[in-house]
Symmetry: C2
Subunit: 400 residues, 2 copies
């Protein structure tokens, strides 16, 4: 089974997204938004070519393409697609089309580097410049039915990849080698490329294989365990340590197809796993299932987090839940979609509520210092009736 | 042969780099630099853990670690390593140690997002805030002997990976599948993780396999050819197209070991390649060799670029060199080191000169629209006597 058929974002998706951002712009007295970042550009235009998208609070969006026009035209349903030689042409083209430049112009200030922003500020001289990233992320965090369908397909692909892992895991191969094997497989069935992350310091990669003692190492990541990595230069994820029999092996795999990500974790063992580890993994699954049970529209994100902590305590894992003492993380899940990690976060003290259409990667995890990591991660959508798993990987421990 | 032995940046490297940036700070009347970006942090401290590095114009650098202290301590030779609970503690800790806060503080404004910078500006209230990224990149672009040695080891690894490609390339596998095969191999011998790039819009990935007609597609990249990619969401690099006999296949592989990158391109063919393509590949090799011949300290980067264009014209490739008409790139090479693509660029009109210790990826390429891409890419260092190849992949066309 392969997942490689041609793909296009439907025109009505782009229209709905455009109307949503225009409503947000109106509500916030912003006259337009200038979209530069690749994922946002793809979200609002359907193309990821080298371009810039201007969405006015009213009227037609203008897509400016810097390099090769034909591909953008074939990919995007935006009506006004304009080839440009230089980005300096853009303000004039906006004025030509819309009669005026926006007085208040929004930018993606959560990702735009300072020097780039200085350049854009000079380019749009007549406007005041505000942060529109919050509005963009707010819209993106609620997925349409079409988007959920895309994520279902990614989930089918990753489910096959986890099946493949079971068939090839063996003692003596390194964590990196194992990751190469399943990634090579994923590419044969459709794996779509690079995992996209928003924050400039976050490094998305699909080889987060953490085995045994070094797998439990805390470190760089804002995650219960960081793993050993390959060197001080890349001190996270899979290392050149060999996989052994009877040790807990955590595989946390990010994946992407047609722009839509999955992020899923399962515990593996070769032949067997110590009883202590099996119990911990089962406790994580219990917490995972309990959170899913309680996740429905109107519940605050902070309450789901607290529930999970309380349950971990009751199960006897207060010392291990979400990291080693002094280095615990304060979240158990994150939004996911066109980026591997998106808003919102199922985190301590978060008072915002779950909404129908939100999609989360839920990852209750534990760390036993100098012993092993344990946990599970699945992607679920929030429906009117409650949580529904998008992930299709069986919920369990894989002893191979 | 494996390249997985433990690795640490020597203390005297860190000291030399510190002295260099301090001299630049003094020359520019900046009292200190606050380093946040991971690659710069690793360059100046030897650790890539979650931290912040303050280097004053005089005196000891302070490394603040936000999460797990023991790993930073074991990796970095910096003397003053301080664990912090919150980044808000940093200004007080600087004042405690150095007696005062810097009046003028430098930041990495080429990468720091606007919202992050606003936060840092509020944190360091008593200072004025300037861009220090140019100074950092200027220092990083000249490599030490130790750094060249690291790149030599990466080059040994990639040379074996190209050998492996020859042994497994075959008709009927897709570009993505082929890329998965050689990447899995690379991970068994030492491949160190994610390719690091500086610009927030640049996506480094090691599966740039461009075959035949779709391989010649221009698009998103500031590169002669972008390839087809897997979908509109990721429209660059390898696609799910199958490799065929008798077609030109370009493999442009970025690679990394212990933080140091290689970026190398070779043309492959299965059984044979059309005569027209062979001639074009040979022309690229001629240009590549001629540029290497002329590359020595004191020559301007722009002159090397011009030389290559002139040669391409003389060889009859004016229409194809560096891209299709209307979409040509204006560079033939880029710095490389801790990032896959670094300053400076061998580009049109660049009047800065080559210096001993600079390292470049040189990539004269051609595009035959609707037919195929052609080209070569090698990494070389600038020595007092001229260019010296670091790349160890044989210079030639690989017909397998």
């Amino acid at each position: 089974m392969k997942f490689t058929k041609p793909f296009q974002v439907p025109a009505d998706e782009i229209e709905k997204r455009t109307r949503k951002i225009q409503a947000e712009l109106a509500r916030n007295n912003i006259d337009g938004v200038f979209i530069v970042q690749r994922t946002d550009l793809f979200y609002f235009s359907g193309t990821a070519q080298n371009g810039f998208l201007y969405i006015p609070v009213e009227g037609a969006p203008l897509l400016f393409i810097k390099q090769y026009l034909p591909r953008a035209r074939s990919e995007s349903s935006i009506t006004e697609i304009i080839g440009i030689r230089s980005i300096k042409d853009i303000p004039g083209l906006i004025r030509d089309f819309h009669g005026q430049l926006p007085a208040v112009l929004g930018f993606e200030l959560d990702v735009l580097p300072v020097n780039d922003f200085q350049f854009y500020k000079k380019l749009f001289k007549t406007t005041s410049h505000v942060d529109a990233s919050g509005l963009i992320l707010k819209i993106r965090q609620v997925k349409s039915e079409w988007e959920i369908e895309q994520m279902e397909v990614t989930a089918q692909m990753t489910s096959l990849t986890f099946e493949y892992m079971k068939s090839v895991i063996r003692p003596g191969i390194t964590e990196m080698e194992f990751s190469g094997m399943f990634e090579a497989f994923a590419r044969t069935i459709g794996q779509g490329g690079k995992l996209r992350v928003r924050n400039y310091q976050t490094e998305g990669y699909p080889w987060h294989v953490l085995s045994g003692k070094t797998g439990a190492l805390p470190g760089l990541l804002d995650s219960p365990a960081s793993g050993k990595g390959t060197s001080a230069a890349f001190p996270v994820g899979a290392s050149h340590k060999k996989l052994c029999r009877n040790e807990p092996i955590m595989v946390d795999m990010g994946s992407v197809l047609n722009g839509y990500h999955m992020d899923e974790t399962r515990m593996f063992a070769i032949e067997s796993m110590p009883e202590k580890a099996i119990k911990a993994c089962r406790a994580c699954i219990e917490i995972h299932n309990a959170v899913l049970e309680k996740a429905r529209p109107g519940v605050t994100l902070g309450r789901l987090f607290d529930l999970s902590v309380k349950m971990a305590e009751q199960l006897g894992y207060a010392e291990n839940y979400l990291g080693v003492p002094g280095h615990r993380v304060t979240f158990i899940g994150h939004g996911i979609g066109l980026e591997l990690i998106e808003a919102p976060f199922i985190a301590r003290n978060r008072e915002d509520c779950l909404e129908t259409g939100m999609v989360f990667a839920l990852e209750p995890k534990m760390v036993f210092e100098n012993e092993f990591p344990a946990g599970i991660e699945s992607v679920f959508q929030v429906t009117d009736k409650g949580a529904r798993l998008i992930s299709k990987v069986p919920v369990g421990i894989f002893v191979c």
